[in-house]
């Protein structure tokens, strides 16, 4: 059926081309090509309930402007995204454009176009330098940074007042005391989601708060003294009952919903948590603050997701370039990134969005953000190991043993 649609499309485009040329419209140089339409598969995760509609809007406008290119959109949940992608790669049907996180393993295996092949020099030059640098493997840029995000502390002001806590904590000790005071009142003080959804995120927020991290492009370092201290502090919070029940098996999204209902004292949230609260429980009396750290020095988890393009049979680089240039133009990009509630990665985008107040606390924290070592080929495996193993911290396992297990998986993948 797909084939017949495609044939039909080719036919109609060819007819349209004939009509155009016979009428004497030379038009755009791509519009009159004999091969007719190119179709691009676009695989994206769902960032919010509105993700699909937002992409559909972009695609509609793009297709209107580029009649010879059609785009097939596929939206998947974050939990399924990478399994879907892997299945597609194995079947030789990798998406032409993929919006995801880790990419270095694909780059080193030669599956990706380089950034230069899929975007014009103007588009590439518009990315902020720190983000563009994050997209390189061995000095070559492969992916285009799509969005940035940072975490901040969301705290429930009513619960703070009830528990007699003055202001948001800035250090771990203050966080511990605040969580203890809130827990006394019968509501969990701190929400710690260590389930498979995003265990690596919660882990890195804490470890970055102690000067730790997951390593760099050449080495994954999970089992370090700084990280261990952070994990031990997390375990202390869990053992002392200052978190919600069963943190090891708690997924982030449902837990943030519980915070929005006003049932948890503090959680680490995303820029779009602000919009979510506004939509679902505007009554919630909450505040935003920097992530508390061991010493009080600011540090947070930064995430940059990216667009990349898989090479398939047939050269589609030109069509992909058309899409990328269209998408990253400020008039399209800013609307997309601000509707999703993320921070922009382009210079022109940042200029346009600098006036946005809800994003201000996050933009402020971005310089002190620690990123995942996504350019390390072993990161995929480390990420998986965090998702399946880190939650054991909440099930009574010793922090040292948990980190050791994760490090072992990372080392095995690095071999």
């Amino acid at each position: 059926m797909k084939k017949s649609i495609r044939t039909g499309m080719v036919a109609s485009v060819a007819v349209a081309g004939l009509m155009l040329s016979s009428c004497g419209f030379g038009g755009g140089d791509s519009g009159g090509e004999e091969e007719g339409s190119t179709s691009l598969d676009l695989l994206v995760p769902s960032y919010s309930d509105g993700s699909r509609a937002l992409w559909e809007g972009v695609i509609e406008e793009f297709e209107a402007a580029n009649e010879d290119i059609s785009i097939n959109l596929q939206v998947e949940s974050w939990e399924n995204l990478e399994s879907v992608l892997n299945t597609q790669i194995q079947a030789g049907e990798a998406p032409d454009i993929y919006n995801g996180g880790a990419f270095s393993a694909f780059a080193t295996e030669g599956l990706l176009y380089t950034a230069e092949e899929i975007a014009s020099p103007e588009t590439i030059a518009d990315f902020q330098e720190s983000f563009a640098a994050n997209e390189q493997v061995d000095g070559t840029q492969y992916a285009l940074p799509l969005l940035a995000s940072a975490r901040a502390l969301f705290y429930n002001e009513d619960l703070f007042e009830e528990a007699g806590v003055d202001g948001p904590p800035t250090t771990w000790d203050e966080l511990y005391d605040a969580a203890a005071a809130i827990t006394e009142t019968g509501t969990p003080g701190y929400g710690m989601p260590l389930g498979s959804e995003e265990a690596q995120g919660e882990a890195l927020i804490w470890m970055a708060g102690n000067g730790g991290g997951f390593g760099d492009e050449s080495e994954i370092t999970v089992n370090t003294p700084e990280n261990l201290e952070a994990a031990e502090f997390m375990k202390r919070m869990i053992d002392d009952g200052l978190t919600q029940a069963d943190p090891g098996a708690t997924q982030r999204t449902p837990m943030i919903n519980v915070f929005i209902q006003g049932q948890i004292g503090m959680v680490y949230g995303l820029p779009q948590t602000v919009g979510q609260i506004e939509a679902e429980n505007p009554e919630l009396n909450y505040g935003l603050a920097n992530i508390p750290t061991a010493s009080g020095e600011p540090a947070t988890l930064g995430v940059a997701d990216r667009l990349m393009s898989f090479k398939n049979d047939g050269d589609k680089a030109e069509a992909v370039t058309a899409f990328m240039d269209f998408f990253f133009a400020p008039e399209n990009y800013v609307e997309w990134v601000s509707t999703e509630g993320f921070l922009p990665t382009t210079i022109s985008g940042a200029e346009e969005m600098s006036g946005d107040e809800t994003l201000a606390p996050f933009l402020e924290m971005l310089p002190s953000a620690v990123f995942y070592p996504t350019s390390n080929p072993a990161w995929n495996a480390t990420d998986g190991a965090f998702k399946s193993l880190f939650g054991q911290l909440g099930q009574g396992m010793e922090p040292a043993e948990v980190l050791e297990q994760i490090q072992a998986e990372a080392d095995e993948a690095a071999e």
Binding site: E82, S83, S196, A199, A245, N380, S388, G391, Q395, M397
Partner: protein
């Protein structure tokens, strides 16, 4: 379909003669059975063969074949420190679910075999868990027992059994226990109906004769009814073993959010290796192991219980 051999066995010697005729007719029969053979090849033999092939390859995380790995994947699997726990869980899971299912179904079938007002309705009701999607049934239990939203949890707190909501699906033992309950719940309809069919085939005169000879209820059941149920029981047990052993959805939903591998059976472990570690090669090797275990269980079962032997 597994009932076939039980029925096909009588009259072995005339069968031999017929078989010769069949072999003469093979070329003639081929066009008729050809499509089925093709289908079996495409959906059974080829995937199984490909799985075995993959288990001897080295496959990158993005799914690219990087050459032969010999038996290295199997060496990895057998030295995997998680394997003993996973196998233990699998054994407990299969044995408990299948025994509970069969015991409850035996009682239920006996009950459904007796005439009573409204029997048709009750028989229909028993089919419901079978007719409903397993994923749906399991999800109902999963959300019902969620510690934040679950109405079953709220109910248990309201009637005072629990002081505060408990994460049934977030701790190893209760989650496995819950998964077992759900698995028994969805396995009962098929098993009960298979046994009910068996019960209805027990000849009235044998029961009457037992009564005449003064056998009590228990004596009648264990000496007359149960031996007659042998064929039906054999089918029910065998199919349940295979089904339960290979069950993914129930465990995946109920124990899926538990970190580590303490609550995994072989099936969910394969799934995690595939989803989180993205090791198609190791997952294939584990699947071959899985496949081998099922074959051994079935062979041992057939050998020991001899379900095909004539009474």
């Amino acid at each position: 379909m597994s009932a076939q051999p039980v029925l096909a066995n009588p009259a072995a010697s005339p069968g031999r003669k017929r078989r010769r005729q069949n072999s003469d007719g093979l070329p003639a029969a081929l066009p008729w059975i050809g499509p089925v053979l093709l289908l079996i090849f495409a959906i059974v033999i080829f995937p199984a063969g490909f799985m075995i092939y993959n288990s001897t390859r080295e496959i990158s995380q993005s799914g690219i074949d990087q050459g032969s790995a010999g038996f290295a994947n199997f060496a990895d699997v057998f030295t995997d420190p998680n394997l003993p726990r996973v196998l233990l869980n699998t054994v407990v899971w299969v044995v408990v679910v299948v025994s509970l299912t069969v015991l409850i179904s035996l009682a239920l079938a006996q009950f459904l075999n007796k005439p009573f007002p409204g029997r048709t309705l009750v028989r229909m009701a028993v089919v419901v868990p079978w007719a409903a999607s397993v994923v749906m049934t399991t999800t109902v239990f999963y959300y019902g027992l969620d510690s934040n939203y679950g109405i079953m949890n709220a109910f248990l707190v309201d009637i005072g059994i629990l002081d505060s909501p408990y994460g049934f699906t977030k701790n190893v033992i209760p989650a496995l226990g819950l998964a077992i309950i759900v698995a028994v719940f969805v396995s009962i309809p098929f098993t009960a109906y298979t046994l009910l069919a068996g019960l209805q085939a027990v000849p009235e005169d044998a029961l009457e004769a037992a009564k005449m000879d003064g056998a009590g209820r228990f004596r009648t059941y264990f000496s007359i009814v149960l031996p007659q149920l042998r064929g039906a029981l054999a089918v029910a047990v065998l199919i349940n073993i295979i089904n339960v052993f290979n069950n993914l959805p129930i465990l995946r939903i109920i124990t899926g959010s538990i970190p580590g591998y303490q609550a995994d059976t072989l099936m969910t472990y394969i799934f995690k290796v595939l989803q989180f570690d993205r090791r198609v090669d190791i997952a294939s090797a584990l699947s071959v192991l899985n496949f081998a275990i099922v074959i051994v269980i079935v062979a041992a079962y057939v050998k020991i219980v001899k379900p095909m032997k004539e009474l």
